[in-house]
């Protein structure tokens, strides 16, 4: 059985799907805002290089 903590993942992401006028849209459950609201955006520059650097430090 996998050990991944589903709750940790799912609770850290507050976006949910709701049906509106026959179409599913993603909304932020806390505020009802639409998808244009996102979590904090990472620092300037290449995001890929940023996350590679972060993960290398941890390994």
């Amino acid at each position: 059985m996998a050990k991944l903590n589903k709750e940790k993942w799912l609770s850290s992401n507050t976006f949910e799907f709701e049906k509106t006028d026959g179409e599913f849209v993603a909304i932020k459950s806390e505020t009802g805002s639409d998808l244009t609201l996102r979590k904090e955006i990472m620092p300037d520059g290449s995001f890929t290089k940023y996350i590679h650097g972060k993960l290398k430090k941890k390994s």
């Binding site: 996998a2 050990k3 991944l4 903590n5 589903k6 940790k8 993942w9 799912l10 850290s12 992401n13 976006f15 799907f17 049906k19 026959g22 179409e23 599913f24 993603a26 998808l35 244009t36 996102r38 979590k39 904090e40 955006i41 990472m42 300037d44 290449s46 995001f47 890929t48 996350i51 590679h52 972060k54 993960l55 941890k58 390994s59």
Partner: protein
């Protein structure tokens, strides 16, 4: 000078329907995460996913609307089963949450990554979801293409994504051009 219309034509008929970004949703499978984090897979595909995610983040920085990107939780479970420890790393979780929605397909059932992606796409289609569902994967053949569900490799979607989000909307800023040049200059071959 090549027009946007010419570029869209060059993409082929199958892409015409979802050049409009408001009509598209993306689902990522585990091969995309492995390519992005581990640089696993064909170099062209790996660089394409680097470019695609960097473009998505730059668009979000500019507060532009970006297509919904969904990753089923079972995709992450499968990666953990393969021993990918980064799945539980906070930096990785924050990174994914910056641009994607994590969805649980069925809390009582555990799928493989590929099964969960197919299941989500099929559910959305059956429920009358009006958008075109693009499955982004390095293993295109394991998904069934339908009228609404289109499996594609990163290199195939990259140009479309740029058209949908940057060129067509005149959003190709200097930053975006730099991102494009950083990764695309390294890609050779065609876009199939």
């Amino acid at each position: 000078m090549v027009s946007v219309k010419d570029l869209i034509s060059a993409l082929g008929e199958e892409l015409h329907d979802y050049v409009n970004k408001a009509n598209t949703v993306f689902i990522f499978d585990e091969t995309i995460i492995e390519a992005w984090i581990e640089e696993k897979g064909d170099k062209e595909q790996v660089l394409s996913i680097f470019a695609l995610i960097d473009l998505i983040i730059d668009l979000l920085r500019q507060k532009q609307y970006v297509q919904p990107i969904i990753i089923p939780i079972d995709v992450l479970l499968e990666l953990e089963k393969k021993g990918k420890s980064y799945v539980n790393n906070k930096e990785f979780i924050d990174a994914i949450n910056t641009f994607a929605l994590i969805k649980e397909i069925n809390p009582d059932k555990e799928y493989t990554g590929g099964q969960s992606v197919s299941e989500l796409a099929n559910l959305l289609e059956k429920q009358g979801y009006s958008k075109t569902i693009v499955i982004l994967t390095l293993k295109k053949d394991r998904y069934q293409k339908t009228e609404k569900i289109i499996p594609l490799k990163p290199s195939r979607i990259l140009l479309t994504f740029i058209l949908m989000n940057c060129w067509a909307g005149d959003l190709m800023t200097e930053d975006l051009k730099r991102v494009y040049q950083t990764w695309l200059g390294k890609i050779s071959g065609n876009n199939s």
